[in-house]
Symmetry: none
Subunit: 194 residues, 4 copies
DNA sequence: GATGAATGAGAGTTCATTCAT
DNA sequence: TATGAATGAACTCTCATTCAT
C-alpha cells in the first residue's frame, strides 16, 4: 500500500513542507520544482496531476497511521495504555516533523476536490474507529468509566489531541508539543478513568 | 466595534457562503461580485482589498463572540450553566448559519497573511480566556472537579466543541448539530462535574 | 488667457505636485481628489477630462513664460542681460516651486495625446524664438560673437538650461539650483561674448 | 556584461519601439506579447517582471555606451576629435534606430521605480565623466580653451546633444539628425576651441 | 528522465468616467 | 456644487498543464 519511488517521496516531502510554510496556496508546481531543483514539467513524470500529489500525501498519512495502529495492537498493554500510546506517539511524530502537523488537521485544504475529501474522511474514520474500539474494550474490562458512551469519549479524546496540535501550530511551534501532549493526556486519563 | 454598511455586510455574508461552498479558493473577487450582482471593481468601493474582506469576516465573528460573552456574563446562573450556554449557543448559531461553521474553525485559510493570522489568534485567545475563567470560578465554588488544572479542562471543552463542528461540516451537515452538541455537552458535563 | 477659478488653480497646483512626486503615473483623478479633499466626480465639475487638466497645466506654464518675456522686454538693459535674466529667473522660479521643474521639461509625458503634444511644441517654440531674437539683436549691436549662427547659439543656451534643471531634479534637488544656474550662465556668457 | 538570449533581445527591441511609439504607457505586457506574436505569460519565461524588462533596456544602453567609449579611447586622435566622435556617433545611432532616441533621454519615465532611477543616474554619470575627462585633457594640452571650468563645458556639450535629440523627436523625426548634429557640433567646436 | 518554451484561464487591482441623488 | 455607487476596459502577474526536443 502506498509504494512510492524515491523521487515521488521527495516530491511528497517537499509538498508537505510547502503547505506547512504557507498553506495550500504555497503548494504550486513551480514551488515544488524549485524546492527539489528540477523543472516543472519533470514533476509530471512522477505524478499525473497536482491532485495526484495531494492524494499521495494523504495516502502517506494513512499508511503511517495504519502502521502505528498495527504496532500498538500487537503490544501486550492495557487499553488505556494503548490510547495513551496513540496520543503521545502522534505528538512525538509531530515534534519530529512539524510540517506534518500543519497538513494533517487541515481538512479544509482538501475539501474542494471530491476525491480528496473522501480520502480525508476515511482517514478520520480510521482514527475514530481505532480509539472507539479501544475505549469500548477498556469500558468492558473496567479500565474506563462506564457512565459516558464510548462514542462521545472518543470524540473528546480526538478533539483534545487535535486542538493541542492546532494550538502548537498557530503559536508557531513555540512550545514543546511532547510536554504539552503529556499534560493534556494526564488530564484526559483522569477524566476517563474509573 | 465592527460597524459595517449594508453593502459591506452583504459582501461579508456572501464571502462566508463562498468559503463554505468551496474553501478559500472559492473566495475570489469575481465570485463575490457575481453572487451579489455587481461588477468586480464595485467591490473595491466597499473594501480596500481582499484581505480587508477577510479581516472584516473575522471582526464580524469576534464581535459576535463578544456579544455572546457579555450576554452570558450578565445572566444569574451557575458557572457550569454559563459554559453550557456558550457551548450550545455556538451549536445553535452554526445550525442557523452553517457556512459560518466552515469558516470559523478553518484557521489554516488565514495563516498566510500575517495580519489575518494575528486576528485569528486573538479570537482564539478570547474564547479560551472566557472558558478558562468560568472553569476557575466553578472550581472555586465547588461546581467543577478540582483535580485537573483549569487550563487543561478548558482545552478539552474547546477541543470537543471544535471537533463536533468539524465532523458536522465534513459530513456535509448531515446530522443535527444541536442534538449532537447536546450529547457532547452531556458527556463533558459529567466528565468535569464534581 | 488662461483664466482659472480658485478650484481649478487648486487642481492644477495639486496635479503639478503629483506629477513631480511620481511622474505622470501618479496623476490619477483619485489622487487629485484625495489630495484636495473632494470626491472624484467633483473634479469633473471643474474640468471636462483628465486631458483637460493636463492642457491647463501647460497653459499655465505658457502664460507664466509670456508674462516673464513681456516683463523683460520692457526693461532697458542689454540683450545679453535680458538672456541672463531669462536664464536666472527660470532657475529662481524652479527653486521656489520644484515640482514645476519636474513637469516643465518632461515632454515625454504629454506626447501621447496629440493636442498636448502640440501645446508642448508651441511652448518650446515660444522660448526658442525669444532667445533667438535676443541673440540676433545682441549679434547686431556687437554684444555677442558673430561667428556662430544665432540658431545654434540659442539651442546651446536652451540645452544648457534644460540639462541643469534635469540634473537638479534627478539629484533629488540636492544642490542649489540658483548657484548652479549662475555658474552655468557665467560659462555661457564667456562662451558667447564677443 | 548584459548577456541576453535571442528572445530577450527581441523583447527589449520591441519594448523600445513601443515606448518610442506612445511613451511608457504604451509599454504593456500585452503590447509586447502581441508585437512579438507570443502570449502574455510567455513574456514571463524570459523576464521576471516588467521592471526587469525596463532594467534590461537600460543595461543595453549602458553596455552600448561603454563599447563606444572603449572604441574611442583606443583611437589615436585629438581629444576634441574624440568628443566629436561621441557627439556624432550618438546622432548616427539615433538616425539608425530612432526609437532609441525617445527612450534614452526620457528619464522621467523611469524615476518612479527606485532601481530604475539609480540605473539611469549611473548611465548619466558615465557619459558626464567621459566627456569631462576628455575636456580636461584637451585643456591641458591646449586644444580647448582654459578660461571655463571643464565641469561647465561638459554640461554645455551634453545639454546641447540632449536638446538636439529632443527637438528631433518632438518634431516627429522630421529633420536629418546627422546634419543637424554636425551643425550643432560645429558651433560647439568653435565655442570651446582655443 | 528531464527541459525550455509556450499557453488558456483566471487572479487581484486600478483607471477614467458616468449617473442618480 | 458635490457625492456614493457603479462600471468597462485594461493592468501585471500566476496557475496547472502540454509538447517538441
Amino acid at each position: 500500500m502506498a509504494d512510492f519511488t524515491n523521487r515521488q517521496m521527495e516530491i511528497i516531502d517537499e509538498s508537505i513542507k510547502l503547505i506547512a510554510k504557507g498553506g495550500i496556496q504555497e503548494l504550486t508546481i513551480k514551488n515544488i520544482a524549485n524546492s527539489i531543483g528540477i523543472s516543472e514539467p519533470a514533476i509530471y513524470r512522477h505524478f499525473n496531476s497536482k491532485i495526484d500529489i495531494l492524494l499521495s500525501i494523504l495516502s502517506f498519512f494513512e499508511s503511517n497511521a495504519k502502521n502505528l495502529f498495527q504496532k500498538i495492537h500487537s503490544k501486550n498493554i492495557s487499553n488505556i495504555k494503548k490510547i495513551e500510546s496513540i496520543f503521545l506517539t502522534h505528538c512525538k511524530s509531530f515534534a519530529e516533523n512539524p510540517p506534518l502537523a500543519t497538513v494533517i488537521f487541515s481538512e479544509e485544504m482538501f475539501i474542494n476536490e471530491k476525491v480528496l475529501a473522501e480520502k480525508i474522511f476515511s482517514i478520520m474514520k480510521l482514527h475514530k474507529k481505532e480509539i472507539f474500539e479501544l475505549i469500548k474494550k477498556g469500558q468492558k474490562n473496567g479500565e474506563i468509566r462506564n457512565d459516558i458512551p464510548s462514542e462521545q469519549l472518543s470524540f473528546v479524546i480526538l478533539g483534545t489531541l487535535r486542538l493541542t496540535v492546532t494550538r502548537w501550530r498557530l503559536s508557531n511551534f513555540s512550545f514543546d508539543i511532547r510536554k504539552e501532549g503529556r499534560k493534556m493526556w494526564n488530564a484526559i486519563k483522569r477524566l476517563i478513568a474509573k
